[in-house]
Symmetry: C2
Subunit: 353 residues, 2 copies
């Protein structure tokens, strides 16, 4: 990964962020600075990580609004790597994104550069999700027995939680004590443990998406082809509702169809990310499938925070990784995990033809 | 330490707790149960701990009001000992009280019994204090580079703070996330590092206080003689204010003098412990000197949680350990460390004659 790759990666991560995952500007700044200072980052397939070496999944935790203003010191990846190697007695071979969607998909390039390590072409979501247990490693049954956090001051905290919910509760408290922003490693796995428990190829996919949007005369068509996405509606944002509470942004937006979609209304419900798209009371797409609102002209992603009345947009939806369609995947991040009393139907069945 | 020693130790620790340090009933229950199940605990001088073995200072952290209702699981000392030995690669030779005052002076007997280890005749305060950096090891310049917390659920959190204030901030946040109660080891030292950095003889002192209160016809006189304490006032509690928040109990009480003290009012301000005694706007005693409210008849300590309107009490004050009167000691736990804009004056100077 070179400096030139960062903008394309950022565009792709924003699309995969389905409205959330944090502002990609923060991750972009981290990546650009670190590559500039420490050099390029090799992107390697998981197969190149030795069975007994460690993959270090890193992500920022905290309020995006804070991370946007209080940049990291740059030393956090070193503090975490040293602590993880000391605890587990094995070398860290590569960095991985926990969450490819949004800022946490771009930041790992910078953290890997700082460590002089390669980045694994994989992540734990294939998208963004609002809660920490919503990762493929959890769905695959890997225990969350170690969380290491480092903050901008240099404090390092290691949590050995009894389960994912306690992991979230204690890590969140540590993060808040540190000023609502910290770098975190969780689900540290050996190469052998990571195989089958992470979603491979997602960094390459984000790069491909970023390039598809940028090149050619028809960004939206190019993006849909790359994603194999359905266009749920093209139209105008006529209502946006957002409220911040309990650590999340919740809300909804309504799009009034234009052109061929005139006369139709689509409503998208949000918890950090876009969760469900409804038309005439019926789901047109829902989690864990991806729903992204993009600018109708540029096909650039519009984040939850940037939604405004009057924007001309297209709403796209495309299939999630198969791990999310397993029974445990749906229990973790299907519509009922977010409080919607509906059964999951794949987006391609809801929008065939 | 046998089962028979526990009640005297508890009475002494309650007196040294200056109102806080947790209700000694909790520590007493812990000690009695563990001695009953795991046997007696040898009390050893620090000189018996080998130079390169570890002393494990243990204390409960959290709101005393919570610890009183949510008992520990009993496994917390094992979780902490194992984590400490794994991190430092040395055996733990003995348990020590971090804080001899209150429940945390009695609990270590039980935690030592559970671990099958001796208890060192020393602690880190010679009393109780509300914040974790307020220990003699900090005043003596020992680095607080490791804090290990275990909670009743079984979560184990290890903090490597950059200093004592961050240690307090992060440990407190973890404790609150765990339900406002946890067992904690901090300032884990080798025998060599502990020498000169802890207050020796304080377990024996608590036992002597406990016996002084119990024996003889004049408990209050006997207690004052043992402590070399001044009686600040004898009277009736006419006002008690208490609120729990941010992990502490804060408040104040007012005593209306009776007998020779008729017409006088003494106000005691509290942050878990009694911090300052004021009369007519002037300090009669203040931290780090000890201020304890005792029952006027039995000379038994009255904890912050047990204060009630109408109680007949005496308020005693006596000198702290000399380490607290050093410049660094006062900076750590003098009146300004608690937000009082007054200079420290030793209690014996404020109440001479």
């Amino acid at each position: 990964m070179t400096l030139d790759d960062v903008p394309a990666l950022a565009r792709g991560c924003a699309i995969l962020g389905t409205g959330g995952g944090g502002d990609v500007e923060t991750g972009t700044l981290t990546a650009v600075r670190a590559i500039d200072e420490y050099g390029e980052v090799p992107l390697i397939p998981l197969s190149e990580v030795p069975d007994d070496s460690l993959v270090l999944p890193l992500s920022g935790i905290g309020a995006p609004t804070v991370a946007h203003e209080m940049l990291m010191s740059g030393e956090e990846p070193l503090l975490i790597r040293d602590e993880v190697e000391r605890i587990l007695g094995r070398p860290v071979a590569a960095v991985m994104a926990c969450e490819i969607g949004g800022s946490n998909g771009v930041g790992p390039v910078g953290w890997a550069a700082r460590l002089g390590l390669p980045l694994v072409d994989a992540d734990g979501m294939g998208r963004a999700f609002p809660e920490v247990q919503m990762v493929s490693m959890y769905v695959a049954g890997r225990p969350v027995n170690l969380v290491v956090l480092a903050d901008v001051q240099g404090n390092v905290t290691t949590v050995r939680p009894i389960d994912g919910l306690w992991s979230e509760r204690i890590s969140r408290a540590v993060c808040i004590a540190s000023g609502a922003s910290a770098l975190m490693a969780d689900y540290v796995l050996t190469g052998a443990q990571a195989r089958g428990a992470v979603i491979e190829g997602t960094v390459s996919k984000a790069l491909a998406i970023g390039h598809a949007v940028q090149e050619g005369a028809d960004p939206l068509g190019s993006l849909c082809a790359t994603l194999d996405a359905s266009v749920l509606i093209t139209g105008k944002v006529i209502d946006v509702e957002r409220r911040t509470g309990g650590g999340f942004v919740r809300g909804s937006l309504v799009i009034d169809g234009t052109g061929d979609d005139r006369g139709r209304l689509l409503r998208v419900e949000i918890q950090n990310e876009n969760l469900i798209a409804l038309e005439d009371g019926r789901a047109r797409a829902c989690v864990p499938d991806l729903i992204t609102v993009v600018d109708a002209q540029t096909a650039g992603a519009i984040s939850t925070e940037s939604l405004r009345y009057g924007q001309r947009v297209a709403v796209l939806s495309w299939p999630c990784d198969p791990i999310w369609r397993t029974e445990r995947g749906l229990a973790t991040a299907g519509p009922r995990a977010f409080g919607y009393d509906i059964d999951y139907t794949p987006v391609e069945e809801l929008n065939h033809g």
